[in-house]
Protein backbone atom coordinates (compact mmCIF):
# COMPACT_ATOMS: atom_id res chain seq x y z
CA UNK A 1 0.00 0.00 0.00
CA UNK A 2 2.64 2.44 1.13
CA UNK A 3 4.63 1.47 -1.93
CA UNK A 4 1.91 2.63 -4.30
CA UNK A 5 1.59 5.89 -2.44
CA UNK A 6 5.28 6.63 -2.84
CA UNK A 7 5.12 5.92 -6.56
CA UNK A 8 2.08 8.07 -7.12
CA UNK A 9 3.41 11.02 -5.17
CA UNK A 10 5.38 13.53 -7.21
CA UNK A 11 9.09 13.27 -6.43
CA UNK A 12 10.74 16.06 -4.53
CA UNK A 13 14.27 15.05 -5.40
CA UNK A 14 16.29 12.32 -7.12
CA UNK A 15 15.91 10.85 -10.57
CA UNK A 16 12.75 9.80 -12.33
CA UNK A 17 12.33 6.22 -13.38
CA UNK A 18 13.28 6.84 -17.01
CA UNK A 19 16.28 8.94 -16.04
CA UNK A 20 17.49 6.09 -13.85
CA UNK A 21 17.05 3.63 -16.70
CA UNK A 22 19.03 5.83 -19.08
CA UNK A 23 21.80 6.28 -16.52
CA UNK A 24 22.19 2.55 -15.86
CA UNK A 25 22.25 1.80 -19.56
CA UNK A 26 24.90 4.49 -20.06
CA UNK A 27 27.05 2.87 -17.38
CA UNK A 28 26.72 -0.53 -19.09
CA UNK A 29 27.81 0.88 -22.44
CA UNK A 30 30.76 2.65 -20.85
CA UNK A 31 31.97 -0.53 -19.11
CA UNK A 32 31.70 -2.50 -22.36
CA UNK A 33 33.57 0.07 -24.43
CA UNK A 34 36.24 0.37 -21.75
CA UNK A 35 36.75 -3.40 -21.74
CA UNK A 36 37.07 -3.54 -25.53
CA UNK A 37 39.60 -0.67 -25.51
CA UNK A 38 41.57 -2.28 -22.70
CA UNK A 39 41.89 -5.54 -24.64
CA UNK A 40 42.76 -3.72 -27.86
CA UNK A 41 45.42 -1.62 -26.24
CA UNK A 42 47.09 -4.30 -24.14
CA UNK A 43 47.13 -7.01 -26.84
CA UNK A 44 50.36 -7.32 -28.82
CA UNK A 45 48.91 -6.89 -32.30
CA UNK A 46 52.23 -7.17 -34.03
CA UNK A 47 52.99 -10.63 -32.74
CA UNK A 48 49.41 -11.73 -33.21
CA UNK A 49 49.47 -10.68 -36.84
CA UNK A 50 52.79 -12.40 -37.31
CA UNK A 51 51.40 -15.68 -36.02
CA UNK A 52 47.82 -15.60 -37.35
CA UNK A 53 47.57 -13.27 -40.31
CA UNK A 54 50.38 -13.84 -42.79
CA UNK A 55 48.92 -12.94 -46.19
CA UNK A 56 51.49 -15.09 -48.03
CA UNK A 57 50.63 -18.21 -46.10
CA UNK A 58 46.89 -17.50 -46.39
CA UNK A 59 47.26 -17.09 -50.14
CA UNK A 60 49.01 -20.41 -50.52
CA UNK A 61 45.96 -22.18 -48.93
CA UNK A 62 43.76 -21.32 -51.87
CA UNK A 63 42.04 -22.81 -53.70
CA UNK A 64 42.46 -26.11 -51.79
CA UNK A 65 40.91 -24.79 -48.58
CA UNK A 66 37.64 -24.27 -50.48
CA UNK A 67 37.69 -26.94 -53.18
CA UNK A 68 38.96 -29.69 -50.91
CA UNK A 69 38.63 -28.90 -47.21
CA UNK A 70 35.38 -26.95 -47.18
CA UNK A 71 33.87 -29.30 -49.75
CA UNK A 72 34.68 -32.31 -47.55
CA UNK A 73 33.37 -30.60 -44.42
CA UNK A 74 30.07 -29.87 -46.15
CA UNK A 75 29.92 -33.38 -47.59
CA UNK A 76 30.51 -35.05 -44.20
CA UNK A 77 27.99 -32.77 -42.52
CA UNK A 78 25.23 -33.09 -45.09
CA UNK A 79 25.47 -36.88 -45.31
CA UNK A 80 25.57 -37.12 -41.51
CA UNK A 81 22.61 -34.75 -41.22
CA UNK A 82 20.51 -36.68 -43.74
CA UNK A 83 21.20 -39.94 -41.92
CA UNK A 84 20.54 -38.20 -38.60
CA UNK A 85 17.16 -36.84 -39.76
CA UNK A 86 16.05 -40.27 -41.00
CA UNK A 87 17.27 -42.16 -37.94
CA UNK A 88 16.14 -39.40 -35.58
CA UNK A 89 12.62 -39.52 -37.00
CA UNK A 90 12.46 -43.29 -36.49
CA UNK A 91 13.75 -42.97 -32.91
CA UNK A 92 11.27 -40.16 -32.20
CA UNK A 93 8.35 -42.27 -33.45
CA UNK A 94 9.58 -45.21 -31.37
CA UNK A 95 9.81 -42.90 -28.38
CA UNK A 96 6.15 -41.89 -28.91
CA UNK A 97 4.99 -45.44 -29.55
CA UNK A 98 2.46 -47.16 -27.35
CA UNK A 99 4.63 -50.29 -27.50
CA UNK A 100 6.82 -50.44 -24.41
CA UNK A 101 9.98 -52.07 -25.83
CA UNK A 102 10.13 -49.52 -28.68
CA UNK A 103 10.04 -46.70 -26.16
CA UNK A 104 12.75 -48.28 -24.00
CA UNK A 105 15.10 -48.89 -26.90
CA UNK A 106 14.60 -45.32 -28.10
CA UNK A 107 15.23 -43.87 -24.64
CA UNK A 108 18.43 -45.87 -24.18
CA UNK A 109 19.64 -44.85 -27.63
CA UNK A 110 19.02 -41.17 -26.94
CA UNK A 111 20.65 -41.25 -23.51
CA UNK A 112 23.76 -43.05 -24.75
CA UNK A 113 24.44 -41.10 -27.92
CA UNK A 114 23.52 -37.76 -26.43
CA UNK A 115 25.60 -38.43 -23.34
CA UNK A 116 28.81 -39.62 -24.99
CA UNK A 117 31.31 -37.10 -26.35
CA UNK A 118 31.37 -37.12 -30.15
CA UNK A 119 35.09 -37.80 -29.99
CA UNK A 120 34.55 -41.15 -28.26
CA UNK A 121 31.94 -42.19 -30.81
CA UNK A 122 34.40 -41.57 -33.65
CA UNK A 123 37.12 -43.53 -31.85
CA UNK A 124 34.61 -46.31 -31.36
CA UNK A 125 33.73 -46.38 -35.06
CA UNK A 126 37.38 -46.27 -36.07
CA UNK A 127 38.57 -48.98 -33.65
CA UNK A 128 35.74 -51.07 -32.24
CA UNK A 129 33.71 -51.69 -35.39
CA UNK A 130 36.60 -53.27 -37.36
CA UNK A 131 37.44 -55.40 -34.29
CA UNK A 132 33.89 -56.60 -33.82
CA UNK A 133 33.19 -57.30 -37.49
CA UNK A 134 36.49 -58.32 -39.01
CA UNK A 135 36.51 -58.23 -42.79
CA UNK A 136 33.40 -56.07 -43.12
CA UNK A 137 33.82 -52.57 -44.43
CA UNK A 138 31.47 -49.70 -43.79
CA UNK A 139 30.37 -48.71 -47.30
CA UNK A 140 31.77 -45.43 -48.54
CA UNK A 141 35.07 -45.66 -46.70
CA UNK A 142 35.86 -42.57 -44.67
CA UNK A 143 32.80 -40.81 -46.06
CA UNK A 144 30.55 -43.65 -44.93
CA UNK A 145 32.14 -43.78 -41.47
CA UNK A 146 31.89 -40.03 -41.08
CA UNK A 147 28.23 -40.06 -42.09
CA UNK A 148 27.60 -42.91 -39.65
CA UNK A 149 29.34 -41.17 -36.75
CA UNK A 150 27.70 -37.79 -37.32
CA UNK A 151 24.37 -39.46 -38.11
CA UNK A 152 24.37 -41.46 -34.86
CA UNK A 153 25.15 -38.37 -32.83
CA UNK A 154 22.73 -36.13 -34.72
CA UNK A 155 19.90 -38.66 -34.51
CA UNK A 156 20.01 -38.67 -30.71
CA UNK A 157 19.54 -34.91 -30.54
CA UNK A 158 17.11 -34.71 -33.43
CA UNK A 159 14.93 -37.52 -32.05
CA UNK A 160 14.17 -35.34 -29.04
CA UNK A 161 13.53 -32.34 -31.28
CA UNK A 162 11.19 -34.33 -33.52
CA UNK A 163 9.33 -35.71 -30.53
CA UNK A 164 8.76 -32.21 -29.16
CA UNK A 165 7.65 -31.00 -32.60
CA UNK A 166 5.22 -33.84 -33.11
CA UNK A 167 3.75 -33.33 -29.65
CA UNK A 168 3.34 -29.62 -30.36
CA UNK A 169 0.91 -30.31 -33.23
CA UNK A 170 -2.63 -30.05 -31.78
CA UNK A 171 -4.36 -33.35 -31.03
CA UNK A 172 -7.30 -32.35 -33.25
CA UNK A 173 -5.09 -32.65 -36.34
CA UNK A 174 -4.57 -36.36 -35.79
CA UNK A 175 -8.26 -36.81 -34.95
CA UNK A 176 -9.34 -35.00 -38.12
CA UNK A 177 -6.96 -37.07 -40.24
CA UNK A 178 -8.04 -40.34 -38.64
CA UNK A 179 -11.73 -39.55 -39.07
CA UNK A 180 -11.10 -38.88 -42.78
CA UNK A 181 -9.81 -42.45 -43.01
CA UNK A 182 -6.04 -41.88 -42.82
CA UNK A 183 -4.16 -44.75 -41.20
CA UNK A 184 -2.00 -43.68 -38.24
CA UNK A 185 1.19 -43.94 -40.32
CA UNK A 186 -0.26 -42.03 -43.27
CA UNK A 187 -1.64 -39.32 -40.98
CA UNK A 188 1.81 -38.97 -39.42
CA UNK A 189 3.53 -38.63 -42.78
CA UNK A 190 0.98 -36.41 -44.58
CA UNK A 191 -0.42 -34.28 -41.80
CA UNK A 192 1.55 -34.30 -38.55
CA UNK A 193 5.22 -34.41 -39.60
CA UNK A 194 4.97 -31.56 -42.15
CA UNK A 195 3.52 -29.35 -39.42
CA UNK A 196 6.09 -30.53 -36.89
CA UNK A 197 8.91 -29.65 -39.30
CA UNK A 198 7.82 -26.03 -39.40
CA UNK A 199 7.80 -25.87 -35.63
CA UNK A 200 11.28 -27.37 -35.22
CA UNK A 201 13.07 -25.55 -38.04
CA UNK A 202 15.13 -23.36 -35.66
CA UNK A 203 16.38 -26.18 -33.37
CA UNK A 204 17.04 -28.32 -36.43
CA UNK A 205 19.33 -25.61 -37.78
CA UNK A 206 21.22 -25.61 -34.51
CA UNK A 207 21.73 -29.33 -34.84
CA UNK A 208 23.01 -28.92 -38.37
CA UNK A 209 25.55 -26.36 -37.18
CA UNK A 210 26.54 -28.64 -34.31
CA UNK A 211 27.25 -31.46 -36.78
CA UNK A 212 29.08 -29.01 -39.03
CA UNK A 213 31.51 -28.32 -36.20
CA UNK A 214 31.69 -31.94 -35.03
CA UNK A 215 32.75 -32.95 -38.53
CA UNK A 216 36.24 -31.82 -37.45
CA UNK A 217 36.43 -35.11 -35.50
CA UNK A 218 36.51 -37.06 -38.73
CA UNK A 219 40.30 -36.82 -38.50
CA UNK A 220 40.13 -39.52 -35.80
CA UNK A 221 39.06 -41.98 -38.48
CA UNK A 222 42.44 -41.61 -40.14
CA UNK A 223 41.96 -39.67 -43.35
CA UNK A 224 43.96 -39.46 -46.55
CA UNK A 225 45.11 -36.10 -47.90
CA UNK A 226 42.10 -35.92 -50.18
CA UNK A 227 39.67 -36.68 -47.36
CA UNK A 228 40.80 -33.87 -45.05
CA UNK A 229 38.22 -31.40 -43.88
CA UNK A 230 38.72 -27.82 -42.67
CA UNK A 231 40.16 -28.37 -39.20
CA UNK A 232 42.60 -31.08 -40.19
CA UNK A 233 43.59 -29.17 -43.30
CA UNK A 234 44.25 -26.02 -41.29
CA UNK A 235 46.24 -27.79 -38.60
CA UNK A 236 48.35 -29.72 -41.10
CA UNK A 237 49.29 -26.54 -42.87
CA UNK A 238 49.89 -24.77 -39.59
CA UNK A 239 52.48 -27.38 -38.63
CA UNK A 240 54.26 -27.39 -42.01
CA UNK A 241 54.47 -23.60 -42.13
CA UNK A 242 55.07 -23.24 -38.38
CA UNK A 243 52.45 -20.50 -38.41
CA UNK A 244 48.82 -20.34 -37.24
CA UNK A 245 47.39 -18.39 -40.17
CA UNK A 246 45.83 -21.54 -41.71
CA UNK A 247 43.83 -22.09 -38.54
CA UNK A 248 42.36 -18.60 -38.73
CA UNK A 249 41.49 -19.09 -42.39
CA UNK A 250 39.85 -22.45 -41.66
CA UNK A 251 37.86 -20.80 -38.89
CA UNK A 252 36.63 -18.10 -41.25
CA UNK A 253 35.54 -20.82 -43.67
CA UNK A 254 33.24 -22.29 -40.98
CA UNK A 255 31.63 -18.89 -40.49
CA UNK A 256 31.32 -18.57 -44.25
CA UNK A 257 28.70 -21.34 -44.07
CA UNK A 258 27.07 -20.89 -40.67
CA UNK A 259 26.32 -17.17 -40.90
CA UNK A 260 24.49 -17.27 -44.29
CA UNK A 261 22.72 -20.42 -43.11
CA UNK A 262 21.34 -18.62 -40.07
CA UNK A 263 20.15 -15.84 -42.37
CA UNK A 264 18.41 -18.24 -44.77
CA UNK A 265 16.66 -20.05 -41.92
CA UNK A 266 15.39 -16.80 -40.44
CA UNK A 267 13.90 -16.01 -43.84
CA UNK A 268 12.29 -19.45 -44.08
CA UNK A 269 10.87 -19.09 -40.60
CA UNK A 270 9.35 -15.72 -41.40
CA UNK A 271 7.78 -17.17 -44.54
CA UNK A 272 6.36 -20.18 -42.69
CA UNK A 273 4.97 -17.82 -40.06
CA UNK A 274 3.28 -15.78 -42.75
CA UNK A 275 1.63 -18.85 -44.29
CA UNK A 276 0.23 -19.96 -40.94
CA UNK A 277 -0.85 -16.52 -39.80
Amino acid sequence: MADTDVRLRPRKKGLTRSQKRRLSRGVQYAVFVAAVIAVAVTADWGRLQNQFAQPDIARQMFPDVLTLALKNTVLYTVSGFVLGVALGLVVALMRLSSVGPYRWVASVYIEVFRGLPALLIFVFIAVAVPLAFPGTEIPGGTYGKAALGLGLIGAAYMAETFRAGIQAVPKGQMEAARSLGFSPARAMVSIIIPQAFRIILPPLTNEFIMLFKDSSLVLLLGVTLEERELSKFGRDLASTTANSTPILVAGLCYLLVTIPLGFVVRRMEAKAQEAVK
Binding site: Q173, E175, G181
Partner: protein, 276 residues
Protein backbone atom coordinates in the same frame (compact mmCIF):
# COMPACT_ATOMS: atom_id res chain seq x y z
CA UNK B 1 -32.61 -21.95 -48.47
CA UNK B 2 -34.69 -24.69 -46.89
CA UNK B 3 -38.30 -25.60 -46.83
CA UNK B 4 -39.53 -24.48 -43.45
CA UNK B 5 -41.22 -26.86 -41.11
CA UNK B 6 -39.68 -30.10 -42.25
CA UNK B 7 -39.49 -31.88 -38.91
CA UNK B 8 -40.75 -35.39 -38.92
CA UNK B 9 -40.65 -35.67 -42.70
CA UNK B 10 -40.60 -39.27 -43.74
CA UNK B 11 -37.17 -38.68 -45.24
CA UNK B 12 -36.09 -41.21 -42.68
CA UNK B 13 -36.88 -44.47 -44.31
CA UNK B 14 -35.19 -47.78 -44.76
CA UNK B 15 -32.63 -49.41 -42.54
CA UNK B 16 -30.72 -48.32 -39.51
CA UNK B 17 -27.57 -46.43 -40.50
CA UNK B 18 -26.21 -46.08 -36.97
CA UNK B 19 -26.97 -48.52 -34.20
CA UNK B 20 -25.68 -48.15 -30.67
CA UNK B 21 -26.24 -50.95 -28.20
CA UNK B 22 -25.67 -50.79 -24.45
CA UNK B 23 -22.72 -48.45 -24.87
CA UNK B 24 -20.55 -47.76 -21.83
CA UNK B 25 -17.50 -45.52 -21.65
CA UNK B 26 -15.33 -44.70 -18.67
CA UNK B 27 -12.29 -42.49 -18.37
CA UNK B 28 -10.56 -44.04 -15.38
CA UNK B 29 -13.10 -44.00 -12.57
CA UNK B 30 -15.26 -41.47 -14.36
CA UNK B 31 -18.25 -43.18 -15.98
CA UNK B 32 -19.22 -40.95 -18.88
CA UNK B 33 -21.66 -43.20 -20.74
CA UNK B 34 -23.81 -45.58 -18.73
CA UNK B 35 -25.61 -47.75 -21.23
CA UNK B 36 -26.75 -45.94 -24.38
CA UNK B 37 -29.12 -47.52 -26.91
CA UNK B 38 -29.77 -45.49 -30.02
CA UNK B 39 -30.77 -46.10 -33.61
CA UNK B 40 -30.52 -43.63 -36.47
CA UNK B 41 -32.19 -44.54 -39.74
CA UNK B 42 -30.96 -43.67 -43.19
CA UNK B 43 -31.66 -40.04 -44.05
CA UNK B 44 -32.60 -39.18 -40.49
CA UNK B 45 -31.33 -36.05 -38.75
CA UNK B 46 -30.88 -36.58 -35.03
CA UNK B 47 -29.84 -33.77 -32.69
CA UNK B 48 -28.29 -34.76 -29.37
CA UNK B 49 -28.74 -32.12 -26.70
CA UNK B 50 -27.92 -31.95 -23.03
CA UNK B 51 -25.84 -30.13 -20.43
CA UNK B 52 -22.05 -30.11 -20.71
CA UNK B 53 -20.58 -33.25 -19.22
CA UNK B 54 -23.66 -35.26 -20.11
CA UNK B 55 -21.60 -37.50 -22.41
CA UNK B 56 -23.11 -36.38 -25.73
CA UNK B 57 -19.77 -35.61 -27.39
CA UNK B 58 -18.29 -38.84 -26.10
CA UNK B 59 -21.23 -40.74 -27.57
CA UNK B 60 -20.63 -39.10 -30.95
CA UNK B 61 -16.90 -39.84 -30.80
CA UNK B 62 -17.65 -43.48 -30.00
CA UNK B 63 -19.56 -43.80 -33.29
CA UNK B 64 -16.39 -43.46 -35.38
CA UNK B 65 -14.21 -44.89 -32.63
CA UNK B 66 -12.27 -41.73 -31.83
CA UNK B 67 -13.08 -42.94 -28.33
CA UNK B 68 -12.90 -46.64 -27.65
CA UNK B 69 -16.05 -47.77 -25.82
CA UNK B 70 -15.52 -49.67 -22.58
CA UNK B 71 -18.48 -51.93 -23.30
CA UNK B 72 -21.26 -52.29 -25.86
CA UNK B 73 -21.54 -52.27 -29.64
CA UNK B 74 -21.73 -49.68 -32.40
CA UNK B 75 -22.83 -50.47 -35.96
CA UNK B 76 -22.52 -48.11 -38.90
CA UNK B 77 -24.18 -49.15 -42.13
CA UNK B 78 -24.28 -52.75 -40.96
CA UNK B 79 -20.56 -52.93 -40.07
CA UNK B 80 -19.70 -53.43 -36.42
CA UNK B 81 -17.33 -50.59 -35.59
CA UNK B 82 -16.53 -52.06 -32.19
CA UNK B 83 -15.38 -55.39 -33.65
CA UNK B 84 -11.67 -55.58 -32.78
CA UNK B 85 -10.89 -57.01 -36.24
CA UNK B 86 -12.72 -54.32 -38.21
CA UNK B 87 -10.76 -52.15 -40.66
CA UNK B 88 -11.53 -48.94 -38.86
CA UNK B 89 -9.95 -46.76 -41.56
CA UNK B 90 -12.34 -48.25 -44.13
CA UNK B 91 -15.33 -47.60 -41.86
CA UNK B 92 -14.24 -44.02 -41.15
CA UNK B 93 -14.12 -43.25 -44.88
CA UNK B 94 -17.91 -43.67 -44.83
CA UNK B 95 -18.37 -41.38 -41.82
CA UNK B 96 -17.83 -37.64 -42.06
CA UNK B 97 -16.90 -35.82 -38.87
CA UNK B 98 -17.06 -32.10 -38.15
CA UNK B 99 -15.32 -30.80 -35.04
CA UNK B 100 -15.98 -27.88 -32.75
CA UNK B 101 -12.48 -26.55 -33.47
CA UNK B 102 -12.71 -27.15 -37.26
CA UNK B 103 -9.29 -28.89 -37.33
CA UNK B 104 -8.43 -27.81 -40.85
CA UNK B 105 -4.85 -28.62 -41.83
CA UNK B 106 -3.12 -25.25 -41.43
CA UNK B 107 -0.15 -26.05 -43.66
CA UNK B 108 -2.40 -26.73 -46.68
CA UNK B 109 -4.53 -24.38 -48.75
CA UNK B 110 -8.31 -24.76 -48.74
CA UNK B 111 -8.24 -26.79 -51.95
CA UNK B 112 -5.39 -28.97 -50.70
CA UNK B 113 -7.36 -29.60 -47.50
CA UNK B 114 -10.05 -31.12 -49.71
CA UNK B 115 -7.85 -32.92 -52.24
CA UNK B 116 -5.15 -34.46 -50.03
CA UNK B 117 -7.50 -36.84 -48.15
CA UNK B 118 -9.15 -37.88 -51.43
CA UNK B 119 -5.78 -38.56 -53.02
CA UNK B 120 -4.13 -40.30 -50.07
CA UNK B 121 -7.10 -42.19 -48.65
CA UNK B 122 -9.40 -42.82 -51.63
CA UNK B 123 -6.56 -42.90 -54.19
CA UNK B 124 -8.45 -40.61 -56.53
CA UNK B 125 -6.40 -39.15 -59.36
CA UNK B 126 -5.44 -35.50 -59.30
CA UNK B 127 -8.07 -34.26 -61.75
CA UNK B 128 -10.94 -36.12 -60.09
CA UNK B 129 -9.93 -34.94 -56.64
CA UNK B 130 -9.69 -31.34 -57.85
CA UNK B 131 -13.09 -31.52 -59.53
CA UNK B 132 -14.79 -32.99 -56.46
CA UNK B 133 -13.06 -30.43 -54.24
CA UNK B 134 -14.33 -27.57 -56.41
CA UNK B 135 -17.87 -28.99 -56.41
CA UNK B 136 -17.96 -29.24 -52.65
CA UNK B 137 -16.45 -25.81 -52.08
CA UNK B 138 -19.21 -24.45 -54.29
CA UNK B 139 -21.79 -26.31 -52.21
CA UNK B 140 -20.69 -24.51 -49.06
CA UNK B 141 -20.41 -21.23 -50.99
CA UNK B 142 -16.64 -20.76 -50.68
CA UNK B 143 -15.36 -21.23 -54.23
CA UNK B 144 -13.57 -17.89 -54.05
CA UNK B 145 -11.47 -19.09 -51.09
CA UNK B 146 -10.02 -22.09 -52.93
CA UNK B 147 -6.44 -20.84 -52.76
CA UNK B 148 -6.61 -19.23 -49.33
CA UNK B 149 -4.98 -20.70 -46.23
CA UNK B 150 -7.21 -21.65 -43.30
CA UNK B 151 -5.69 -19.01 -41.02
CA UNK B 152 -6.95 -16.23 -43.31
CA UNK B 153 -10.57 -17.43 -43.02
CA UNK B 154 -13.17 -16.56 -40.39
CA UNK B 155 -14.30 -19.30 -38.04
CA UNK B 156 -17.53 -19.73 -39.94
CA UNK B 157 -15.69 -20.07 -43.24
CA UNK B 158 -13.25 -22.54 -41.72
CA UNK B 159 -16.10 -24.67 -40.45
CA UNK B 160 -17.76 -24.66 -43.88
CA UNK B 161 -14.47 -25.75 -45.46
CA UNK B 162 -14.27 -28.52 -42.85
CA UNK B 163 -17.76 -29.66 -43.85
CA UNK B 164 -16.79 -29.56 -47.53
CA UNK B 165 -13.66 -31.58 -46.74
CA UNK B 166 -15.80 -34.31 -45.18
CA UNK B 167 -18.34 -34.22 -48.01
CA UNK B 168 -15.61 -34.61 -50.63
CA UNK B 169 -15.00 -38.08 -49.23
CA UNK B 170 -18.59 -39.04 -50.09
CA UNK B 171 -19.70 -40.12 -46.61
CA UNK B 172 -22.92 -42.02 -45.84
CA UNK B 173 -23.22 -40.38 -42.44
CA UNK B 174 -22.15 -37.02 -41.05
CA UNK B 175 -21.29 -36.51 -37.39
CA UNK B 176 -21.25 -32.96 -36.04
CA UNK B 177 -19.61 -32.27 -32.68
CA UNK B 178 -20.91 -28.87 -31.53
CA UNK B 179 -20.09 -27.37 -34.94
CA UNK B 180 -21.10 -23.82 -34.02
CA UNK B 181 -19.94 -23.62 -30.40
CA UNK B 182 -16.58 -22.04 -31.22
CA UNK B 183 -18.06 -19.41 -33.55
CA UNK B 184 -18.89 -15.77 -33.02
CA UNK B 185 -22.69 -15.48 -32.89
CA UNK B 186 -22.96 -13.63 -36.22
CA UNK B 187 -21.14 -16.46 -38.02
CA UNK B 188 -23.33 -19.29 -36.75
CA UNK B 189 -26.05 -18.77 -39.36
CA UNK B 190 -23.90 -19.59 -42.40
CA UNK B 191 -22.78 -22.90 -40.94
CA UNK B 192 -26.30 -23.86 -39.91
CA UNK B 193 -27.54 -23.00 -43.41
CA UNK B 194 -25.06 -25.48 -44.91
CA UNK B 195 -26.16 -28.15 -42.42
CA UNK B 196 -29.79 -27.45 -43.25
CA UNK B 197 -29.02 -27.91 -46.94
CA UNK B 198 -27.40 -31.27 -46.19
CA UNK B 199 -30.41 -32.34 -44.17
CA UNK B 200 -32.74 -31.37 -47.01
CA UNK B 201 -30.63 -33.43 -49.41
CA UNK B 202 -31.29 -36.48 -47.26
CA UNK B 203 -27.93 -36.89 -45.52
CA UNK B 204 -27.97 -39.02 -42.40
CA UNK B 205 -26.82 -36.69 -39.65
CA UNK B 206 -26.04 -36.97 -35.95
CA UNK B 207 -25.58 -33.51 -34.49
CA UNK B 208 -24.44 -32.64 -30.98
CA UNK B 209 -25.56 -29.05 -30.55
CA UNK B 210 -26.82 -26.29 -28.32
CA UNK B 211 -28.71 -24.63 -31.19
CA UNK B 212 -32.30 -25.28 -30.13
CA UNK B 213 -33.81 -23.45 -33.11
CA UNK B 214 -31.84 -25.64 -35.48
CA UNK B 215 -32.84 -28.77 -33.57
CA UNK B 216 -36.49 -27.76 -33.58
CA UNK B 217 -36.62 -26.87 -37.26
CA UNK B 218 -34.28 -29.39 -38.88
CA UNK B 219 -34.08 -32.49 -36.69
CA UNK B 220 -36.35 -35.47 -37.25
CA UNK B 221 -35.66 -36.53 -33.71
CA UNK B 222 -34.11 -34.96 -30.63
CA UNK B 223 -32.26 -36.96 -28.01
CA UNK B 224 -31.78 -35.42 -24.57
CA UNK B 225 -28.87 -36.79 -22.56
CA UNK B 226 -27.90 -36.15 -18.97
CA UNK B 227 -25.49 -37.94 -16.65
CA UNK B 228 -24.41 -40.48 -19.28
CA UNK B 229 -27.88 -41.76 -20.16
CA UNK B 230 -30.58 -40.84 -22.66
CA UNK B 231 -33.28 -39.21 -20.58
CA UNK B 232 -35.81 -38.82 -23.35
CA UNK B 233 -36.03 -38.76 -27.12
CA UNK B 234 -38.65 -38.08 -29.72
CA UNK B 235 -39.89 -35.52 -32.23
CA UNK B 236 -38.43 -32.06 -31.59
CA UNK B 237 -41.86 -30.59 -31.03
CA UNK B 238 -42.34 -33.00 -28.16
CA UNK B 239 -38.87 -33.06 -26.54
CA UNK B 240 -38.22 -29.33 -26.88
CA UNK B 241 -41.80 -28.09 -26.96
CA UNK B 242 -43.33 -30.35 -24.34
CA UNK B 243 -40.62 -32.17 -22.36
CA UNK B 244 -41.84 -35.00 -20.17
CA UNK B 245 -38.94 -35.15 -17.75
CA UNK B 246 -38.02 -32.69 -15.07
CA UNK B 247 -34.34 -32.78 -16.06
CA UNK B 248 -35.18 -31.90 -19.66
CA UNK B 249 -37.44 -29.08 -18.56
CA UNK B 250 -34.78 -27.71 -16.26
CA UNK B 251 -32.09 -27.87 -18.97
CA UNK B 252 -34.29 -26.23 -21.59
CA UNK B 253 -35.48 -23.47 -19.31
CA UNK B 254 -31.91 -22.57 -18.43
CA UNK B 255 -30.82 -22.68 -22.06
CA UNK B 256 -33.72 -20.82 -23.61
CA UNK B 257 -34.19 -18.21 -20.94
CA UNK B 258 -31.39 -17.89 -18.41
CA UNK B 259 -33.20 -15.04 -16.67
CA UNK B 260 -36.26 -17.21 -16.10
CA UNK B 261 -34.12 -20.02 -14.77
CA UNK B 262 -32.70 -17.65 -12.21
CA UNK B 263 -36.14 -16.63 -11.09
CA UNK B 264 -37.08 -20.29 -10.87
CA UNK B 265 -34.06 -21.05 -8.74
CA UNK B 266 -34.74 -18.11 -6.49
CA UNK B 267 -38.30 -19.25 -5.93
CA UNK B 268 -37.20 -22.75 -5.07
CA UNK B 269 -34.70 -21.24 -2.64
CA UNK B 270 -37.50 -19.30 -1.02
CA UNK B 271 -39.63 -22.39 -0.77
CA UNK B 272 -36.71 -24.15 0.87
CA UNK B 273 -36.39 -21.20 3.23
CA UNK B 274 -40.02 -21.30 4.38
CA UNK B 275 -39.81 -24.99 4.96
CA UNK B 276 -36.95 -24.44 7.30
Amino acid sequence: MSTPGTPGTPAATGTAEIQVRDLHKSFGDNQVLKGIDLEIRQGEVVCVIGPSGSGKSTLLRCVNLLEEPTRGQVFVGGTEVTDPDVDIDAVRRRIGMVFQQFNLFPHLSVTENLTLPQRRVLRRDKATAARIAAENLARVGLSEKADAYPSSLSGGQQQRVAIARSLAMGPEVMLFDEPTSALDPELVGDVLAVMRMLADEGMTMMVVTHEMTFAREVADRVVFMDGGVIVEEGAPARVIGDPQHERTRHFLSRLLDPAMAEVEEETSDQVGGTER
